[in-house]
């Protein structure tokens, strides 16, 4: 679970009761347990800063709220009592809560996995690997490929600049090549989505179609959506 493969970012749910601090390709990552109450969040962050010189001093950090719904007031608190006094540099904010994403975006904060800088920016962007399912109402946005080791339930949304791979059931909205790349593809083990999006195109799917419920690769060829069975060549 702790192996990092070059450009891959592995996400694990934060342990119960503890704010996780992880090192990774992008630098440090601060992971907040999803179920943390406002009080636990404040206490947890204050503990990190306590004792004068602390590990995050001057560090570049990805602030990962996972699925936790965090309102504007809490974000303000984090800035006023953690980021600014702690001299922490927040590279980016990560959240799967659409409301929280909205607050952060409208306030001009960088969201999602941070874009690699320098030479890395010229290479393919980092893949996002999520080892969890997405429930209805949760939303993931990422500039590169997204791999979901789980299901994308009806009402959940995945927007990837690159490809999307869903190891479980794809029922929600998957938009591959969301920044305009029509060569992106969607792969899933169980295809049950009523709509797919690649690049700037949308296709509606009939439940009666022969590939409903099957493992498929979906791409665009000659401006048309093509669905192929997903088979492993050996």
């Amino acid at each position: 679970m702790n192996e990092k493969n070059g450009e891959e970012l592995r996400r694990e749910p934060a342990e119960n009761g503890q704010i996780l601090l992880k090192g990774g390709v992008q630098g440090l990552r601060l992971i907040i347990p999803e179920h943390f109450s406002g009080e636990e969040l404040r206490k947890g962050l204050q503990e990190i800063l306590s004792g004068g010189k602390h590990i995050l001093q001057g560090a570049r950090v990805v602030f990962d709220l996972q699925g936790r719904s965090t309102d504007a007031g809490e974000i303000l608190w984090i800035l006023e009592h953690f980021v600014w006094p702690g001299n922490v540099f927040v590279l980016s904010w990560v959240t799967y809560s659409a409301e929280t994403l909205d607050v952060l975006r409208r306030s001009g904060f960088p969201t999602g996995e941070p874009a690699p800088t320098g030479h890395a920016a010229e290479r393919a962007r980092v893949s996002l690997v999520l080892e969890r399912s997405l429930r209805s109402g949760q939303r993931v946005e990422h500039g590169g490929d997204v791999v979901i080791v789980g299901s994308v339930n009806d009402g959940a949304e995945v927007f990837a600049g690159g490809n999307i791979v869903v190891w479980g059931r794809l029922q929600g909205i998957a938009h591959a090549g969301s920044e305009g790349n029509a060569d992106a593809r969607i792969l899933t083990r169980v295809f049950e989505a009523s709509q797919v999006r690649i690049g700037r195109k949308v296709s509606y799917v009939d439940k009666d179609s022969s590939w409903w419920g099957k493992s498929v690769v979906i791409g665009i060829e000659d401006e048309t959506f093509i669905v192929r069975p997903l088979t492993i060549q050996s």
Partner: protein
């Protein structure tokens, strides 16, 4: 025993939260536990009608929060079932009449007097639901085996998980075995596949529910209908007892229990 505060919620409206809250409250109280059923659906209250206690409401939850009365004054004692009380909602106010903080304080005060607090949540995912859930430890999510209800249940489970409620258990309500067999209705396995939470009960669609809610006589007061037995079983499971699921199909055929067994690899 330490008090257990359980929010009964669903996301979708009309799937049976109030019916479930009423029947479980009666079932638990009948077994000797001190139970308060709290109606958190301010403005659209129904729990009082379903319990048949609407004519005895003097003060409501909002009165307590606003200091117009003491908590014990607002509780309506059920004369049919010892140990059961109702804390009614206000019908003439709206969901913003109380804050989450006030609801939490209210639940904490109730903990001192009762073994179980069952909170009937309104439909939706906004303030009303949040107010209902904030004071609770556990959650019971009610859904019907329909695509739209299951999607809403998934949403609400995601929100309950993010609020730290645990355990979150599922009740599948209004199942019609003959429709499941025909492939016209989702079966228990389909629903559990998506929602991925522990199942605590399956309640069959039962006409007697309509009569009972109209009359204000919860089924678990003494009924024998399939739904009544299902609610009884849920109350037993909530107390830690291992009760096999009802066989709603023909005894000769595989039945629900068989399907549930298969699901758990038994």
């Amino acid at each position: 025993m330490t008090c257990r505060v359980i929010v009964v919620t669903s996301g979708k409206g009309g799937v049976g939260k109030t019916t479930t809250t009423a029947n479980l409250s009666v079932a638990l109280a009948s077994r000797g536990y001190k139970v308060v059923a709290m109606d958190a659906d301010i403005g659209l209250r129904n729990l009082d009608v379903v319990l048949g206690l609407e004519n005895r409401i003097v003060y409501t939850l909002v009165d307590v929060v606003e200091g117009n009365c003491r908590l014990l004054q607002a509780l309506v004692r059920d004369k049919r079932v010892n140990n059961l009380h109702l804390l009614p909602a206000a019908q003439t106010r709206t969901k913003d009449a109380v804050t989450p903080e006030q609801m939490r304080t209210l639940c904490d005060e109730l903990r001192e007097h009762f073994d179980f607090v069952l909170v009937d949540s309104p439909a939706g995912i906004e303030g009303g639901f949040r107010n209902a859930a904030v004071g609770a430890d556990e959650a019971l999510v009610v859904t019907t085996p329909e695509v739209s209800a299951v999607r809403d249940a998934d949403r609400i489970i995601g929100m309950l998980e993010a609020m730290g409620k645990s355990p979150i258990r599922l009740i599948i309500n209004r199942i019609r075995p003959y429709m499941v067999k025909r492939g016209d209705m989702l079966d228990v396995g389909d629903v559990l596949d998506i929602l991925a939470v522990d199942l605590v009960g399956v309640v069959p669609d039962d006409d007697s529910v309509v009569t009972s809610t109209n009359r204000g006589e919860p089924l678990t007061l003494g009924g024998n209908s399939p739904a009544s037995k299902a609610f009884e079983n849920i109350s037993l499971r909530l107390c830690g007892e291992d009760v096999p699921f009802l066989n709603l199909d023909n005894p000769e055929k595989e039945g629900l229990f068989g399907k549930v067994k298969k699901l758990f690899g038994l």
